[in-house]
Symmetry: C2
Subunit: 215 residues, 2 copies
DNA sequence: CCCAAAGGTGAATGAGGTGTCATATTCAGC
DNA sequence: GCTGAATATGACACCTCATTCACCTTTGGG
């Protein structure tokens, strides 16, 4: 709100110094990885730069050789993690025979990914309140890809026509909450069961209407 | 971690003082309301106690007459807001003729509620990382009510049988994301359109034909 | 081997903010 | 109206941390 922090998003600053040697690149990577686990376990606010640098095995000052500050490393981290998830999901989904199968594979892959990388959720969700644009960027990027796939599927006649944009947000919300509840909090329901439940919803809806058979 | 602040969580303190007079009750309420808007706009971490007390029109010290600290007032706030939403949604949904209609009414009411009370989302989501139990309590309470309604609907033959627990989390996730995107961020799609899209999903699924996929 | 550029160090700085406390004011019952 | 209890005050002690900086060490091309 006040003036002094307005410079944060002035120009896409390449950072105080991109590493120019192999050693520098290694150090930068170590710091970034340390930030992931530190933010992931302690949370953004509780985590101090000193926690990150200790974890990375470097001095505090070294941090500022590569990142302008705490907020910038968060931004970097979210961008990085976003790429990873999208790459992973894309790989899992690429050989699905139709959209419904892709949804199943995608949901399972997402749950598995979250289970193996529990930091993603926390870092991402906290980023929302540090700088909303980081968060929006993540989901809008994710959503754009998703939308393209739904549009394809509509064109191919694999799914009902409808407002695919709205659907994208609904689907992302589902995955998000299912992941939080069943991949991060309590694994009391198998991923198979979850995928089957959601798949049934996609294939038949929730309603028992005249055409559907009873179990 | 160090010794001096260890008393913070010694015993489950019922709060430093529940108000004993009408004036006290009013003051406490003013502080709570101020905390809602302050946390809602600035966020939990950026918000200082001084911001809250300034907004409430009381001195900083007064705050500690009613709340043990910043975390406790957040806890109180989430509990309070949770009651309000659930009451509102229950009221909107009570005269629906079947579950599908209830879902429609419920989703619309939730979107409208969020639009009118934008602080709910921020306070709730931030609470997650201040003390996860506050957050889980909110959604688990919400989920319990939801589950009961789905179980009822299953019994009445209004919806397909299936894992209603998983469904509950999927549905909460949908509402949450749709609310964030369309009620808080950008109102570029009407609530009618959103409700219609989701209703179609519930009634027919995503697949092109209600029965099964193509050969 | 040399040496300029790159990388690394960690103590010092200072802003920001929570919670305390001694004191002042208001309330409610008598 | 008196008086003890409740409530309100706000300056400040105290601490946590992000960031800076002057100086040292390593790297790698010539």
């Amino acid at each position: 709100m006040s003036a002094p922090n307005a410079n944060a998003n002035a120009i896409v600053d390449p950072g105080p110094g991109a590493p120019k040697t192999a050693r520098g690149a290694r150090t930068r990577a170590r710091i970034l990885k340390a930030a992931e686990s530190t933010f992931g376990t302690l949370g953004y606010h509780r985590a101090g730069i000193s926690d990150i640098t200790r974890d990375a095995g470097v001095a505090q000052g070294t941090f500022y050789n590569y990142f302008a500050g705490k907020e910038e490393i968060l931004r970097e981290l979210v961008r990085d993690m976003g790429h990873q998830v999208r790459a992973r999901l894309a790989a899992e989904v690429v050989n699905a025979r139709d959209r419904l199968e892709a949804e199943e594979k995608g949901l399972r892959a997402f749950l598995e990914y979250l289970h193996d990388n529990p930091y993603l959720y926390r870092v991402l969700q906290e980023a929302q309140f540090v700088d909303e644009s980081i968060y929006r960027e993540y989901y809008e990027a994710f959503g754009r890809g998703y939308l393209r796939m739904l549009a394809d599927a509509t064109r191919k006649g694999e799914i009902r026509s409808g407002n695919n944009e709205v659907r994208v947000w609904a689907l992302m919300g589902m995955s998000n909450f299912l992941g939080l509840r069943y991949a991060l909090w309590e694994g009391d329901v198998s991923f198979d069961e979850i995928v089957a439940t959601i798949s049934d919803l996609f294939r038949h809806g929730l309603a028992i209407d005249g055409l559907d058979r009873k179990p």
